[in-house]
Symmetry: C2
Subunit: 475 residues, 2 copies
């Protein structure tokens, strides 16, 4: 196998090469931007989904599934929403040999599929809150260059949709979603930004949007999800109302929380290195790979011992792969490093004799594991690996930002810029032009890389109502 | 809530009423035959999928996922296959505001999506066998009357696709799939038939098809899945070939194994009774429901005790629901019986005093559970419930069949008929006409309800090459 491109100087080439060589996505399918999830990549996706399900269900959300097709008339009910999606949806117009009376949209997101049914499910205040989520694929007729996980036409998607009694409860749900994402991001070892998008960049139909952005090198950021407060914007056209405790009627306030396979792209982009992917242990298709180092005299004993180790780890609930292939150990090291396995155990004659295994984690830390304590010591190594992965990611995260106080500093920036912004749209667009990217918006909480309050607006120089904001080049 | 229709005299009405009242599927969505999976029904589906995944992965199959859309040109490559599906696929013809150059088919099944990629994945005999499966939704433009789970337009679908070295290995894979299904059916407590379909009724493009049929009352049967041997029928047009151990080239032999949400329909139809659904414990959304029976003096103690019981059962890995609603206990019993929960625990003042719970399983068996052994005793009750459910299903299964020796007996039959058949297509069609249904085909192994070999063909009266076959009314 050839060397990977340099991550620092050719990040896109490096990313594409890792995704392909590590068998995470196969983009040779006959439709551009619709990629195949091969066996190894599917395992990573399944682990990712498991974390999303665990954390969202811990907040009382329940799984549902709505159809993939939406009748054109339902799709058009919320005017801003349809405007936002009109140019990028797939239309089903024929069934069998005949034209359909009503064309159908392949869901780009599920508001318009779910809300006519929510109107039936929600009758009384006792039916609230309604917190449901689904994990499905969504479809967008993407015209820009597609990239595995980052910009695709069939998107593996998590979407929570909720109905709340009133605006405040909906705001609470937004908070709860952000807390749930914080726990998910912990499992992914991914530092991130929660940013309130400017009005001109919010989700089609939303009252406001808090986006989840990840810096991925230079001034570039990747939006991997978002939480929206809809107020009554959808409940009015879709008539989702309820009988209040006092016998009146009120419209629900709604929220949504969306995440996509971009998360997997972010994990590859943030943690990967010159040797390939690096997976946090909860995401890794295999947490541990065992490589036997056969010797002329101890071949059978080593084979038996490594099988037993693999069995023990599997029984302890770990995802383990015993690589019994014919290649040299070095070729196996190379492959499993490329594929990002957190921990490798090597067992040769010396190890067998000493009742131990040599352990090497994906960040290069070497240690020795006593076979009698195999399960606990391996679990400990994985925890230490995750901690170190998070520590490194946090260092890189903090170094991704720098404050800019003059528009001229935005041009050609190699960092995400933290700027003072007065909140006006005109200044926002000036900032966007200067960085040749976007004003991500105002952070929830204190942004990284700053001390104290912002100075004047970087564009108009006014000091009134100025807040910290991020300027970046979203990909 | 109104009474359910009578299962024996109005089976379809009964079925539709149970599916709706038990909240298994919501068919009020804006497209006929595309139904919503509500919270309760989704839980059953998730449990069902978990069993499929467990059993197929135990045979070495790995999960993948291929795109939902298939370019028209790939779809048309295998001639029999496209003929079989032409009239019942959905076509995507527009993306955004423009017509697509190549129309796309929403997958009705995934042969034509997967096999161009299999041709890239399989290079050498070392890449074989390739055993992969996916659980996705498939789409059929169904023109017949739709029924939740039984005939829908968006179908929750399990499909395994494999490539084998040669015809014999492919035959072995068919066997292995049938063995895996036997284990799945054990978890569903569903007796079934494995039947080799006559040539005129095999899957489009298959060398042969073994269908999995379930008798569901009268002469009616429900096909819930099938296993196909494709020989080289697809590998030739899709060029899936490999370098043999001796340096030559050969085409792979392929198999597929498909199951659908019809399984859930079969579980409802077979096990359900006059009080609603009855779920085997592995499928049940909740295995145990706990109903507190509050008394004036012990309300708080009963509440605390039932919470603790629920926690203990959840920690033991059981799916448990503590019903703390305001209704009377009787209303709760009614609802959870309708929803098919295997075991109900009742805890009132007397139970609390005696450190026990009253247990009633969904088949009516009452017992007492000592709280100190709660986890093991509940697990035991669930095992006993599953055994009894299977026993009853087997009794009903055996009673579903009777031998017919004359075509006149097929008319208006209230059983699935076991008949002698010479194997000719002409006789097959005569039998089908007589029963106003289908010749399901020849069973794998000995059919139920027969002793010894068949007599002459029920249609032509010849004795040459006659085998037992089933005649039924598939729905």
């Amino acid at each position: 196998m050839a060397d990977l491109p340099d991550k620092r100087t050719a990040p896109i080439d490096w990313y594409l090469a890792v995704v392909e060589a590590a068998d995470l996505s196969d983009k040779r399918y006959g439709i551009k931007g619709m990629n195949v999830w091969p066996r190894y990549g599917f395992r990573a996706r399944r682990n990712l989904d498991r974390i999303l399900v665990r954390e969202i269900e811990a907040t009382g959300s329940e799984a549902v599934e709505f159809p993939a097709l939406i009748p054109a008339n339902e799709f058009a009910k919320e005017k801003e929403h349809i405007k936002g999606f009109d140019a990028q949806v797939y239309w089903v117009t024929r069934g069998g040999l005949s034209e359909l009376d009503v064309p159908l949209v392949l869901r780009p997101t599920s508001e318009t599929a779910m809300y006519p049914i929510f109107a039936l499910w929600v009758r009384s205040h006792q039916d609230l809150p309604l917190n449901v989520y689904q994990i499905v694929n969504t479809f967008r007729y993407e015209t820009k260059t597609t990239r595995p996980f980052l910009r695709v036409r069939e998107i593996h998607f998590f979407e929570e949709h909720t109905c709340q009694l009133d605006e405040d409860r909906a705001t609470d749900r937004v908070r709860s979603n952000l807390d749930a994402f914080a726990r998910m991001a912990g499992a992914f070892c991914l530092p991130y930004l929660a940013v309130r998008r400017p009005d001109w960049d919010k989700f089609a139909g939303a009252h406001y949007t808090i986006a989840l952005d990840i810096p991925i090198g230079g001034a570039r950021t990747l939006q991997i999800g978002s939480v929206h407060h809809y107020r009554e914007n959808f409940s009015v056209p879709y008539r989702i109302s309820y009988e209040t405790a006092t016998g009146g009627r009120a419209n629900v306030h709604q929220t949504t929380f969306g995440l996509s396979e971009r998360l997997l792209g972010a994990i590859v982009a943030v943690h990967g290195d010159e040797r390939g992917a690096v997976f946090p242990s909860e995401i890794a298709p295999y947490e541990v790979v065992i490589v036997p180092i056969p010797t002329a005299t101890a071949r059978a004993a080593i084979e038996a011992a490594t099988r037993e180790l693999a069995d023990r780890l599997a029984r302890a609930g770990l995802r383990v792969f015993l690589d019994r292939g014919e290649e040299r150990p070095g070729a196996k090291y190379f492959r499993w490093e490329l594929r990002g396995v957190p921990l490798r155990l090597e067992v040769g004659g010396r190890e067998l004799e000493g009742r131990r295994a040599s352990a090497v984690d994906r960040l290069g830390t070497r240690s020795t594991v006593a076979l009698e304590n195999l399960e606990t010591e391996v679990a400990e190594r994985l925890r230490a690996f995750d901690r170190e992965l998070m520590r490194r990611a946090q260092v890189a995260f903090r170094e991704s930002f720098s404050v800019a106080t003059d528009l001229s500093q935005l041009n050609g920036s190699t960092r995400v810029r933290v700027v003072g912004w007065c909140g006006s749209e005109a200044c926002g667009h000036e900032i966007e032009k200067a960085i040749d990217g976007a004003l991500l918006g105002v952070p929830e909480g204190t942004p990284p890389a700053v001390e104290g309050p912002p100075g004047p607006c970087i564009a108009c120089r006014r000091s009134d109502g100025v807040r910290w904001a991020f300027a970046a080049q979203p990909i």
